[in-house]
Subunit: 324 residues, 2 copies
């Protein structure tokens, strides 16, 4: 995993992934007590940064491998990112989802061109189903984060941040990144190390699921106690990856843990001040930038918004709690 | 009013106004039955395209005139656009607003650096107050649409559309524009006439307030019957302007009238598929593109979203009605 892979991915993503803008609001600067920029990956295709990794993985395959198709396990943003990247490559995609996933997510993934294989969480092993499909059809598994080409794709977001910061004359800043398994976080960190060395990555996680924060403190991969029970579903993962963690250990930290209420409040502020739809997990970095200023050092902070795939009910909850 | 003024405004806006991206979603293409792109001016500074015109007007003044300050009548997007453009020019701004305007809008305009002068709609004339302030302080009035530099500023959005369409290889398309007094509509039309002559502007208005549609049919400026009673407040104006209408007559049409329900549905789809916060009036063009396909001819349609300054209550209403 190196910067050349990220640069190569950027070339392959050119004209396919969106270059998301860098946004700001004087109202948010005032709350943050510093200059705050936002990198809205909710505006990326399929509503999250995951399309970058999906495209990078698909476009890195040789034509024969790709024609056989790809496989992913996901009920969320990774599913949609891989499905749409495959569709636009003309490649088959099989997404294995739990049968009790929300119907809308299943429908969306199908509408993006994927074959959805449902499994019973209680009685079936998704890995066994995946192994069988790989064997039968020659599908290639696209892992959600611990996979070099996927990290390379997410890292293209960091190349954009480096270029956009340079345009604005920003040479020193903290870049707060919503962190699950660390694909986006490690990819951005590698990109910045090489293209904007004064910009440092600070991972943001939900309170109680701050495995990366704890891992950076202990120096080894720590696990989360559970995989649910927090509204930030998009960034709840069991633990950082064997590829992503060493990169984060070298380049990122300390981590910042944010509460669910802070995420809801950040969602409402993104609605009011940026006109963006942000999902709870996608608001973690913005929440850290707005409400954890004492844990930040630099005059300028750039917060990534990792995604915007939120149900109307949850969005309404944020607006009702903090919309005025 | 000519293309050179728009090009000059673009030079002055460079690095100050945002170049908004061109977004799309396969889900929206399917509803529209054609290729649909969205130009989201809700992501512009202050949440609407009005910042372009405000900046163009302020930056066109000589330093002495600007230092005395500017004046605007508005309780909405124009107020915020002018206030913030003035603040960033270091110029005083006085915004005359009705005393019964929502407190949030008054607070926002003040927070953007303007002095807000409130008047009693029943017993005071805002024009008299404005005349007095102009005489006493030497303020320069910035009109909301029927003013060449303001039209030039809004026209920079059209230059961006022309360049973005060329990048995508689009040489023929209809560009649907949310239309109030016609500043954005005429500015975009002039820009496209000169830089993308295969792109034609179609004004979109609320049903019952479709004065421009009727004016284009009759060939003379028709008026709206009222100034309220429709959720699309941002684009309710008495009539097109003496400068904007001749441009629209020459270059735009036919107009498309959309219902309030269609705007709410377009808002919900922008939430779901584009992750954008859109106000009812700002959704008029998207609603026309999605639900009035029979009135459109081209394979490719570009819909502007003029703004996103919507109250949480109204946004929730759109989500509850059409969010699933």
């Amino acid at each position: 995993m190196n910067i050349e892979m990220i640069e190569a991915a950027a070339t392959r993503l050119e004209g396919h992934a969106r270059k998301t803008p860098l946004l700001a609001s004087p109202f948010l600067d005032e709350i943050a007590g510093r200059r705050l920029f936002v990198k809205p990956e909710c505006l990326q295709h399929t509503g999250s940064f995951k399309f970058r990794g999906g495209w990078a993985a698909l476009s890195a395959m040789d034509a024969e491998t790709r024609a056989k198709g790809v496989l992913a396990f996901s009920s969320g943003n990774h599913a949609q990112g891989v499905a749409y990247a495959a569709k636009r490559h003309g490649a088959p995609a099989v997404i294995i989802m739990p049968a009790d996933a929300p119907q809308l997510k299943i429908d969306n993934t199908r509408a993006l061109g994927a074959e959805v294989v449902l499994y019973d969480r209680q009685n079936e092993s998704r890995e066994e189903i995946g192994d069988r499909l790989q064997a039968e059809r020659g599908l290639t598994l696209v892992k959600p984060y611990d996979e070099p080409e996927v990290i390379a794709g997410q890292g293209t977001c960091g190349l954009e941040i480096a270029a956009q910061a340079a345009e604005l004359g920003i040479t020193e800043a903290e870049v707060v990144v919503c962190c699950g398994g660390g694909g986006l976080t490690s990819g951005i960190a590698l990109a910045l190390e090489n293209h904007a060395s004064g910009l440092k990555v600070r991972p943001a996680e939900p309170e109680g699921f701050d495995d990366v924060k704890r891992s950076l403190e202990s120096g080894r991969i720590e696990k989360n106690p559970a995989m649910g029970g927090n509204i930030c579903d998009a960034i709840l993962t069991p633990a950082a990856g064997d590829i992503t963690f060493p990169i984060m250990k070298r380049l990122c930290g300390p981590g910042i843990a944010v509460s669910e209420d802070e995420c809801l409040q950040a969602m409402a502020l993104a609605f009011l001040r940026l006109k963006l739809v942000v999902e709870p997990g996608g608001a973690a970095a913005l929440a850290a930038a707005l409400f954890h200023g004492k844990e930040l050092q630099s005059d300028t902070v750039i917060a990534t918004i990792s995604g915007g795939n939120v149900d109307p009910e949850m969005f309404t909850r944020a607006l009702q709690a903090y919309g005025t």
